[in-house]
Symmetry: C2
Subunit: 390 residues, 2 copies
């Protein structure tokens, strides 16, 4: 689902780059320190405010840590989507994965949150694996490479714990007929000019890339296409995918469908200094295929907000606001609000060293991976229960 950096080869980058405090956020590139408030204005989405969060919390019977700590931070018509649910309109969820490599922690964040939404709203989840996209956008990847990643990634997705009765996973190159039938209906309303303005295609973009936005839009309308029943779709995903949903939302009324709503996450930073977690920098990404030892080692080498020496740390205190370790604890790994507040405070005051925080996070990450690996093994036995068939 996420376009990767090599797309920039076929793209007139200059046209699309949004200046965001020096950061760049497009569906195929996220670079630099992102100012999310600025991004909300630039993308024209809404911040996820207290009332909205509380309303979701009431449906879910609690607030997920990713919500409480602001990892999910913005939305488009999420309130309308909850209203549909409240009024008895069928709701569904749609998210996805572009199988171009091994899955890392950054990919998992929207999926973990999607499971929380699935449990809360008892909603069907349509999970698209964009194998066609990854083949078309990556000059180096063969269909065989992509198929291997699709198979591997599938296990990571299932391991998140989605409800097999309500989850329908499909890859574009396998579950093709319905998707293509919807995609041509979408494509008829999207000019090359619009696609170029939204995604920055150029003369050297291949014609499959140009068509692909219609394939990514298709699942927005798939639940209703399958059985004709009015359905309101919500897309939980990272904010960089938002341009795709602009196309879907423009076309929806022309096809007689509801506009999909969206709920968007920030990016989890890489373990180095600055930038989001990226498979292209494996030393700064925690892959779900990493052993516990490998992950622990990566955490121990991570960038922190600490002082050069323990002595200075004790004297001056650290800076949790720029610390990757703290941000991991805060965003996902430390559920306890009291604990996270205490960590922040004692870092600032010099009471806690980076070694201690690293030790704490490393343990949590290792435990997380151990559990994920266990579930991933189990997933091998139930792949068929999750696959959507034509």
């Amino acid at each position: 689902m996420k376009l990767i950096y090599v797309f920039t080869r076929g793209v007139r980058k200059g046209r699309l780059k949004m200046q965001n405090s020096g950061a760049v956020v497009t569906p195929w590139e996220v670079k630099g320190e992102v100012d999310y408030d600025e991004l909300i204005r630039q993308f024209g989405v809404e911040p996820l405010d207290r009332l909205m969060i509380e309303r979701l919390g009431r449906h879910a019977g609690g607030l997920h840590v990713l919500l409480r700590r602001g990892m999910f931070f913005s939305h488009r018509e999420f309130g309308d989507w909850m209203k549909s649910y409240e009024e008895g309109v069928r709701v569904a969820l749609y998210t996805g994965r572009g199988p171009s490599g091994n899955t890392h922690l950054g990919h998992l964040i929207p999926w973990i949150f999607t499971k929380y939404l699935q449990d809360a709203f008892k909603a069907d989840l349509f999970f698209q694996m964009t194998d066609d996209e990854k083949f078309l956008f990556n000059p180096e990847l063969s269909i065989e490479d992509i198929n291997k990643f699709t198979e591997e990634n599938l296990l990571d997705i299932i391991a998140v714990g989605f409800d097999p009765k309500r989850t329908k996973i499909f890859a574009d190159l396998s579950y093709t007929k319905k998707l293509y039938n919807i995609a041509v209906r979408v494509a008829k309303h999207v000019t090359f000019s619009t696609a170029r303005a939204t995604f920055g295609f150029s003369e050297s973009s291949n014609i499959g890339m140009v068509f692909f936005p219609a394939m990514q839009a298709a699942p927005c309308f798939l639940p209703q296409y399958i059985d004709g029943k009015d359905t309101h779709v919500l897309i939980p995903c990272a904010i960089d995918q938002e341009p795709y949903w602009r196309i879907s939302r423009d076309v929806a009324p022309k096809l007689g469908y509801r506009k999909p709503a969206g709920i968007y996450s920030k990016f989890i930073p890489g373990l180095g200094a600055g930038g989001k977690m990226s498979a292209s920098m494996p030393e700064t990404a925690i892959f779900l295929s990493d052993t516990e030892c490998e992950a622990i080692k990566k955490v121990k080498n991570a960038f922190t907000g600490g002082q050069p020496t323990i002595r200075e740390q004790k004297e001056k205190g650290g800076n949790p606001d720029v610390c990757v370790i703290y941000s991991y604890l805060y965003s996902l790994f430390e559920e306890s609000d009291a604990e996270v507040a205490e960590t922040y405070k004692s870092c600032k005051s010099g009471g806690k060293t980076c070694g201690e925080c690293k030790e704490s996070l490393a343990k949590k990450v290792a435990a997380f991976l151990k559990e994920h690996h266990r579930r991933r093994e189990k997933a091998k036995d139930c792949v068929q229960d999750f696959l959507l068939r034509e």
Copy 2:
């Protein structure tokens, strides 16, 4: 398969128009009197020469009237294709139909010739119905309209008499998975720039139109994709489709397939003065759905090379070289070489009137339609035998 004139809305026509003695020949527009010798040079194809025709005749056990009278006039590597056949390489045929309206006589010409080739070479025929194309290129046509035409056209195709054991008809929106899987492989090697130069796409072309050439290229490689067996494909079609095969031929070696060969027909003229038979001018086209009476009436109103009065005709003679009636007799309906020579001579000398020739053609057309309608009725019982399934 044939792009229709409304495509010109989305096309920068100026870029692509080839001056051909004042005629225009592109995949979506054929206008004016075409100089076929000039077209051979412009498209870079080969004329179908005597040796090639005789070689085909030996395989077929006779020369089809469409061949003998030059309706099929040019080719690309048709000799290589026959060589493959002679050397035991598997050969296949591929042609198609864009279901955007009722079928007329002009559409039938390549199919009749394709049946002749199928019988001669005992070849599998892959027959593509480009319902996606017709939907994407026609702002006025809904999927429901297209589906109706697909169903109707299918009967006309089967009525041609193809071998049900060797004929696999498929529509893009139904037989989608394999086609799309091949199409993305093709698309990866076709830039927007190439597609624009070949087909004249513009900023206002929709993104489905831009991708479509990959879907039309896909069946060139389908026989081999299905079972992995080396196959040499020949495409019998009207010459205006040639740009599509240029794309297919460029991409073939990159995907490890043989380049498809082609054998190309002229256009059958409309019954009016000038221009090919076109569904957009129904009074000058003989539709396969016309009753015998309707067809006879159209023939009787056709443009001829005769003089304004019978008296002048007897004195000065007519001009069969510009006569639509004569061209129909010559190209398709009068099998006897002696008879066609006699008609030419006696028209020139004023011995035959236009009324007589019209009478003769009307009878033949009516008989042809009667037989076609009979076969079309029969076709309804065996549609399933011809459909290719995933």
